[in-house]
Symmetry: C2
Subunit: 401 residues, 2 copies
C-alpha cells in the first residue's frame, strides 16, 4: 500500500520535478477494453470522444482494442487525429459556419461527420462545402446545451427533410449524407448517484428514439425505432456522455456510443458512482513548496493552470479541487484518505489534511516532496498539459491548440 512518502519517492524516481501529468497506462487500457467489450456485447459502434485525451499515443491504445472511429470537438483536433491515421471522425459539436473551408479540406482526406441543429448552418454548409460529409442532426434530449428539442417535431422534420433532399441530389454526386440523430445527455453530470444517472440515460435514449419516430411519421423512416429511412439507409442514433453509458448495462436503442471520459475517469465520475477508484487512470504529480502544520496544509506548485478550476462540493459544502492518490510498484493505488486540494490560484494549490491520520502524515511532508493529485475533471486537467508521462517513463505527446 502506497503512502505519501513512498508515492513521493516513486515520482522522484520517475524524474518528476514540476507539475506533470501522469497516466497509468494499464488502467487506461483496462478502461478502454471494458468499454469496447460492452459496446460489442450491445452490438453498438463505440466512437470514443478523443477530447478527453487528445493524444495520438493514447489513441493507439484504442486502436489496439479494435476502435477505428472517434469523435472530436474542434477542427484542429480533427486534423491532428487525421494526421495520425484516423480516417473516420465526427465533429460532435455544432458546425461553425466560419470554418466550412476547413471542414471541406479535411473531408477530402477522411470520412468526416458534422453536426448541425439549424437551417442557418445548413445554408453555410450547402453553399460552400464541396466534399462529401455525413451530417448528424443534434437533438437536445434534456441537456439544454445544443440541439433541436427532442419534442420539437416540426423543427426536426423540417431539417431532416432538407438533409434527405440534399443527400439525393439528382444526377450529382451527393455532397452530404444524412447520417442520423446525435445527442449528448450531459444532464447526467447533475445526477446524485449512479441510479439517477441510469434513469437519465434511459430518458435520453427514449427521447432520441421518439425524435426518430417523429421522422418516421413524417415519411422519413419506415422504422419507428431507429429510423431506417425510405431509401433503406438507416438513420443512426448516436449518444454521448460517460455517466450514461457507465451507469447502465442497457445500451439498447442506440447505434453508436460516444463517451470520452471513461478512458481516464476522474473524481466527478467517482462521485457519481460511475467508476471505482481502481478506474482512475490519470493524475498530476505536484511538487510541495511549503508546509503549514498550524493550518494542516501544504502548498504545491500546481494551480488552476494545471488542474483547472473545476471542483466538487464536499459533504460539508467545501470546494474540492482534487484528492491525493498513491503510487505503488503496481501503479496507481486507492485515494489517500483524508487529503484534498482545498484551493487553487493561478500557479499555487493548497492541499489540506482533513483527518487526524492525514495530519499526522503531514508532519513528515517537506518542500521537494511530490504528491499525486487525482483531478476532478480529467478532460480539463489533461487540456492543461502538452504531454503525459507513463509509469514506465514514456512521454506521450498531446494535440495542442
Amino acid at each position: 500500500m502506497a503512502d505519501l512518502s513512498s508515492t513521493s519517492r516513486r515520482l522522484r524516481d520517475l524524474g518528476v520535478r514540476r507539475a506533470t501529468l501522469i497516466v497509468d497506462r494499464d488502467r487506461a487500457e483496462a478502461n478502454i477494453a471494458r468499454y469496447a467489450a460492452r459496446a460489442a456485447a450491445a452490438g453498438i459502434v463505440l466512437r470514443p470522444h478523443f477530447k478527453t485525451h487528445q493524444s495520438a499515443g493514447v489513441a493507439q491504445w484504442f486502436r489496439k482494442a479494435g476502435i477505428t472511429r472517434a469523435a472530436v470537438s474542434s477542427i484542429g483536433m480533427a486534423r491532428y487525429f487525421a494526421d495520425h491515421g484516423w480516417d473516420d471522425l465526427t465533429l460532435a459539436i455544432p458546425a461553425n459556419p466560419l470554418e466550412v473551408e476547413d471542414y471541406d479540406t479535411l473531408a477530402g482526406r477522411v470520412a468526416l461527420g458534422l453536426t448541425i441543429d439549424s437551417h442557418a448552418t445548413c445554408d453555410a454548409l450547402e453553399e460552400r462545402l464541396q466534399e462529401a460529409v455525413s451530417l448528424w442532426i443534434e437533438v437536445d434530449t434534456g441537456g439544454g446545451r445544443t440541439g433541436i428539442a427532442w419534442d420539437d417535431h416540426a423543427a426536426l422534420t423540417s431539417l431532416a427533410l432538407r438533409l434527405r433532399a440534399g443527400s439525393g441530389r439528382s444526377a450529382q454526386e451527393p455532397r452530404h449524407r444524412f447520417a442520423g440523430l446525435l445527442t449528448h445527455g450531459g444532464q447526467s453530470y447533475g445526477a446524485r448517484d449512479r441510479l439517477e444517472a441510469a434513469a437519465i440515460f434511459a430518458t435520453v435514449r427514449r427521447r432520441l428514439q421518439a425524435a426518430a419516430a417523429a421522422l418516421g411519421d413524417a415519411g422519413l423512416s419506415d422504422d419507428s425505432r431507429r429510423g431506417t429511412d425510405a431509401t433503406g439507409s438507416s438513420i443512426l442514433l448516436s449518444a454521448g456522455d460517460t455517466p450514461g453509458f457507465a451507469s447502465s448495462a442497457d445500451w439498447s436503442g442506440l447505434d453508436e456510443a460516444r463517451p470520452g471520459n471513461f478512458v481516464f475517469h476522474d473524481l466527478m465520475q467517482l462521485s457519481l458512482g460511475t467508476c471505482t477508484q481502481d478506474d482512475l487512470a490519470c493524475a498530476v504529480a505536484c511538487p510541495v513548496i511549503g508546509v503549514y502544520p498550524e493550518r494542516h496544509e501544504a502548498a504545491v506548485h500546481a494551480g488552476a493552470v494545471h488542474l483547472s478550476k473545476e471542483h466538487l462540493s464536499g459533504t460539508d459544502g467545501r470546494a474540492i479541487f482534487g484528492r491525493l492518490i498513491g503510487l505503488s510498484a503496481d501503479g496507481f493505488t486507492s485515494l489517500l484518505p483524508g487529503w484534498d486540494v482545498a484551493s487553487l490560484s493561478q500557479e499555487h494549490g493548497l492541499i489540506a489534511a482533513r483527518t487526524q491520520q492525514a495530519r499526522h502524515g503531514l508532519a513528515a511532508v517537506k518542500p521537494g516532496d511530490l504528491v499525486l493529485v487525482a483531478p476532478v475533471h480529467a478532460c480539463l486537467t489533461c487540456e492543461q498539459f502538452t504531454s503525459y508521462l507513463t509509469l514506465d517513463g514514456e512521454i506521450i505527446s498531446r494535440y495542442r491548440r
Copy 2:
C-alpha cells in the same frame, strides 16, 4: 456605440473564425502607463507580475513605460522572459527544491530573485545553488496561502538571521543576498468592494511592516519601518495583488509593487470596483454555433478550455463565466447590457440574454456570428491561448508551458 451585430462584423473583418484572444492594446498601454505613474509618484519600484500576459510582445509595452523588472511564477516563464531580454526577474512563488539546478543556470544569466518561507527550502538552495541570487522571505499577511505568518516573529527572525549569515560569508563571494520581505495579499480578492479592498491592503502593509520591525528588534535592522539592516543595506518590502494597489492611493511603507492583472483587468476586478469598464483590455472572440430563442440563449464554440471555469456569482446567485463586450472603430466599448456567459462545458459556452432588450437582440443572432466575451479572470483565460490578436491584426505570441 457598438452592438452585437457591429461587433460581430468588426471581428469578422479582423479575420476571426474561431475562439481567439483579443487585446485592446491602447487600453492595455493606458493601464500600464497609469500604474507606472502611480508607482513613480509613490517612489516605489513597479515590478509587474508577468504571469497575467506571459508575452514578450506585451512585455515590450511595459518597457516603453520604463519598466525593467518583472515577477514571474515559474522557472519556465522566467527563462522565456530572460530569452527576451529581461534581466531582473523575481520568481514570486516559494522555490521548489527540485528545480534548484534550473534556478542556478538562470541565475548565471540574469539577476534572479527567489522566494522562500522555510529552512527546508533554504537547505536545498544552500546545498546546490552556486550562482548568486536575491532571496526574499515570503510573509503571510493574512492571505493564508504561502509564507511565514506575519506575527510568527520567531520563525521570521530565525530564517532572516540565517539568510543574513549566508549573505555575509567571510572571504567567499556571497552566494545569496537577503533582499527583504515579500507578501501577496490575495485576500483582497474576497473583498466586497473597493473600500474593503483598500482596508485589506492597509492591513497587509501594516503587517508586512510589523514583520520588518520584528526583524529590527532582533538586531537585523536599524529601521523599524522598512528594516535597513545592520550593515546598512535595506531589507525591502514587496507586495503584490492588483486589488490592493488599485483600491488605494496610499502605497506608503512599501518598496516594491508586484501587481499583474492590471494590464488587462477583468470582470473580477470590475466587481471589486478596482477597475472601470474602460480598463478591460482583453476578451475572447467566440463564434456562435447555435441559437435557442425559446430559452433566450445562444451557444458559442468557446468553453472552459478557452475561458476557464472561473466564475462570479450574479446578484441572484447564478454563476457568471463572462459578459459580452462590444467592439467599435475605437476599440473595446462598454459591456453589452443584459448578456452573460451562463455555462461552460469543455468546448461549448452558453450565452444568455437576461433582459428584454437583450432578448430582442438575440433574434438577430445567427450561427457564424461572433461575440466578444470579457473574461472573469484574465490571467486564467489568457493562459488558454498561444497568442493575442490586436485590433490592428497583429498576432503577439505567448509563453507556453
